[in-house]
Amino acid sequence: MHILEVEHISKSFEKTEVLKDICFTLEKSQVLSIIGSSGSGKTTLLRCLNFLEHADQGTIKVNGELIFDATDPSYRKEAVMRRNLRHFGLVFQSFNLFPQYTALENVMLAPKLSAAKEKDYKSHKKEILASIEEDALKYLDMMGLSDRIGNYPHQLSGGQCQRVAIARALALKPDILCFDEPTSALDPELTGEVLKVIKSLAEQKMTMIIVTHEMSFAKDVSDQVIFMNDGIVLEHGTPTEVFENPKEERTKQFLGMLNT
């Protein structure tokens, strides 16, 4: 069974069609990279998967379960969206850490708030909080940030902030982790350290969708690559197919393979 099935997703802003009939599937433990020029719809697609935007048409299934159907307004109810959102995690280009919380608190906040809404929270508060903290420490350690847990975002480098953001997303144990240009706000050195941890997640068989402009990274880490252009999936295949043998002229042009 596919872990993710995206079928016929379309989205317009005012009169501009940003996504046109997007379809793809993803298998568990696979990494999908989405490449394409700015304005091609990559980010909007990720935002539709994470319900920051609502697709105008189409369906989204996770593990065979329908979690979004554009024709059924009940999928847009806040509580339903919040439940279905648990399948996804999203790491932003601009990190969006909470500035008033330390690295550790950033990672723990959402799991704590979610646990506090469970019925047996009061009677097991201590154990629950201890296990949330243990988890958070584990993810921060995984990101190589064990010595930074008490620091506030403004005391961290961009690369460290992004790694905290990844730990924060992992702490909710999503089935699919999405990255929206995770290194576009970073210099080459910091980019390297963030790509390294994403690669280590791939090696640990995390299912991921990565919107990126880092072509060699996409080629190296992905199982599938989608090239988007003007709101459509123009090319879709293995990294070798897309990067070395693109069928479309536009893909070749984008990858700089044409001598103009």
């Binding site: 994470n50 319900f51 920051l52 806040e78 919040r82 959102l85 648990r86 996804f88 995690g89 999203l90 932003f92 601009s94 969006n96 850490l97 909470f98 500035p99 008033q100 919380y101 906040l109 959402a110 708030l113 979610s114 506030y152 975002p153 403004h154 924060r168 997303a169 909710l172």
Partner: protein
């Protein structure tokens, strides 16, 4: 005619009593207007158009007319026009009417300061909260509120200092605050008359009070300087 040194304790005692009333109005206004302002702020940012328009109208009227007029209307309108003097003629009634006028007036100003603080927070904070599965109220209270407070401290300190001095407007409905107490010695009170210096003395009270508030706001700002 008694000497200045003989008059001083009498005047100070009177001003102290007046200033107590000033402080009472100040604190009651803050206590009411700080939360009411947040409510009006939410109303004026509501996605429901009629609600939004209604709160914007309220803010426009309250900010567009003098507080002194609002005081007069709130105090006299029920008795003179509706023939239902809900406030009564006693000091407690005048205080209640003043408190209502001040709370509504200041809540409208606070609401706009809050709104400024909220819209200055990057949308990414909302989005991060949403994709982490947080509810809208969790996002506001656990993520945005402290960031908003940090941003609004400078304009809030302005407004709060102004409030201390604005309480003197309640003099218009004869609330016995410190200006009223000082003025009494011009007309004649406790054997002192024609004395204008007690009125000048009131300035010292305001100055000291606002000095303390300035220090308090500086401390709060420092306390919130641990994040950016």
């Amino acid at each position: 005619m008694s000497t200045f040194l003989e008059q001083l304790p009498i005047v100070i005692n009177s001003l102290n009593i007046g200033f107590l009333q000033t402080l009472k109005l100040f604190f009651v206004t803050l206590l009411g207007a700080l939360p009411l302002g947040l409510l009006i702020c939410f109303g004026s940012m509501s996605k429901i158009k009629p609600v939004k328009r209604l709160f914007q109208l309220l803010i426009w009227i309250v900010r567009g007319t003098p507080l002194m007029i609002q005081l007069l209307i709130i105090y006299y309108f029920p008795g003179l026009v509706l023939d239902n003097p809900i406030w009564g003629g006693a000091e407690s009634g005048r205080f209640a009417a003043s408190a209502v006028a001040f709370i509504i007036n200041y809540a409208c100003y606070f609401s706009e300061i809050y709104r400024g603080g909220i819209i200055a927070i990057p949308i990414g904070q909302d989005e991060a909260g949403l994709v982490l599965g947080m509810t809208k109220s969790d996002i506001f209270f656990k993520v945005k509120l402290l960031q908003m407070i940090k941003r609004i401290l400078p304009p809030m300190s302005n407004e709060v200092l102004t409030l201390v001095k604005d309480t003197s407007l309640a003099r218009i409905i004869a609330l016995q605050e410190i200006i009223w107490a000082g003025q009494a010695f011009m007309k004649g009170s406790q054997g002192i008359s024609g004395a204008i210096w007690p009125l000048f003395f009131t300035a010292i009270y305001y100055l000291i009070c606002n000095g303390l508030l300035t220090v308090l706001f500086a401390r709060l700002e420092k306390k919130l300087s641990y994040f950016r």
